[in-house]
């Protein structure tokens, strides 16, 4: 057999799949690792979403929708008062919720409002992506 004839023969020999007795165990191990990886990903994205949500809520409160100081009075005092009152109600409800979880005094350091806004927006996007991924996995 010449070298030219032997090359395809070798490839045929390499292409033969060996019979491995623990093939089922190997398949199960790969499946297990895939599941584990998926759980870790869902957990990481979920955690990012929760953190993002907390940051977003905290930021909403500190900005106070820009109305607490009376800036919202644009179309009239009555409308301004109504919005302000609603804003304060929401704020106190959220503050109560955060106090329950010990997050009432959460300080976000020296980050500016815009930075926090983008962080919160990013976190919410991640949360939405996690939701879509979870949905696609369940479909």
């Amino acid at each position: 057999m010449s070298a030219d004839e032997f090359d395809p023969e070798i490839e045929r020999l390499f292409a033969r799949t060996p019979l491995l007795r623990d093939a089922a165990l190997f398949n199960a191990q790969v499946e297990q690792r895939l599941q584990k990886g998926s759980r870790v990903r869902v957990f990481a994205l979920g955690l990012a979403g929760v953190i993002g949500g907390v940051v977003a809520i905290r930021e909403t409160m500190s900005v106070n929708l820009g109305l607490a100081a009376g800036d919202g009075v644009v179309a009239g005092d009555a409308l301004g008062q109504g919005i302000r009152s609603t804003s304060l109600d929401i704020q106190s409800t959220i503050q109560g919720g955060l106090d329950q979880f010990g997050l009432g005094n959460l300080e976000l350091g020296s980050m500016g409002g815009m930075q926090l806004f983008w962080i919160a927006a990013g976190a919410l996007i991640v949360l939405a992506a996690a939701g879509v991924m979870k949905l696609s996995q369940e479909m």
Partner: protein
């Protein structure tokens, strides 16, 4: 409407479904090709445990990159290449591996028993020869690709492949090799 079970589907279809997150479909691909990938790694010289670890890593990576598989070659060949590269990376971490085996080599023993299977025959090759032959003929990598991956000169890779094939031919086809022996090794 009932969906087709993975077992009835073609690899390319299964890979497309796996790319969309179908773990069941990917499981079928692992079932079909797991042993081939593990076998290749063992033929490259990996111990059974290491071969299985790398094969698992290769399949996990394949699952994550399934969208990149376009069905130009076979799915098995694609995963084998991933596995081969992972193995090369692993052995490259053992910094002196390639250099050491270059010097050391393992003298092939002459088998008088006649024909033997590929796995046995590969044991008679030196480590670099075995690696290069397996990468070339088992993982379907081209010589320049192997040279780049192993960080070896192209000529060295070609020599390893040639010497490895010569030894395999001698061991797998003793009679043919003997009759051709005088003319095969010229050049």
């Amino acid at each position: 409407m009932m969906t087709q079970p993975p077992i009835d589907r073609h690899d390319v279809e299964l890979a497309a479904l796996a790319a969309a997150g179908g773990r069941r479909e990917f499981g079928e691909l692992v079932r079909r090709h797991g042993s081939a990938v593990r076998g290749l790694l063992r033929r490259m010289g990996a111990q059974a445990t290491l071969a299985d670890d790398i094969a698992q890593d290769a399949f996990i990576q394949a699952f994550e990159r399934c969208a990149e598989f376009r069905g130009e070659g076979t799915f098995a060949a694609w995963v084998k290449r991933i596995a081969a590269r992972l193995y090369i990376k692993r052995v490259a971490k053992e910094a002196r591996y390639i250099a050491e085996v270059e010097q050391k080599g393992v003298a092939p023993t002459v088998d008088q028993a006649g024909l033997m299977d590929l796995d046995e025959a590969l044991k008679g090759l030196s480590e670099p020869e075995r690696l290069c032959v397996s990468l070339c003929h088992g993982a379907g990598m081209a010589h320049p690709e192997i040279a780049a991956a192993l960080n070896l000169p192209l000529g060295t890779v070609k020599s390893h492949v040639k010497r490895g094939l010569d030894k395999l031919r001698a061991r797998l086809q003793p009679q043919s090799a003997q009759s051709l022996g005088g003319t095969q090794h010229v050049g």
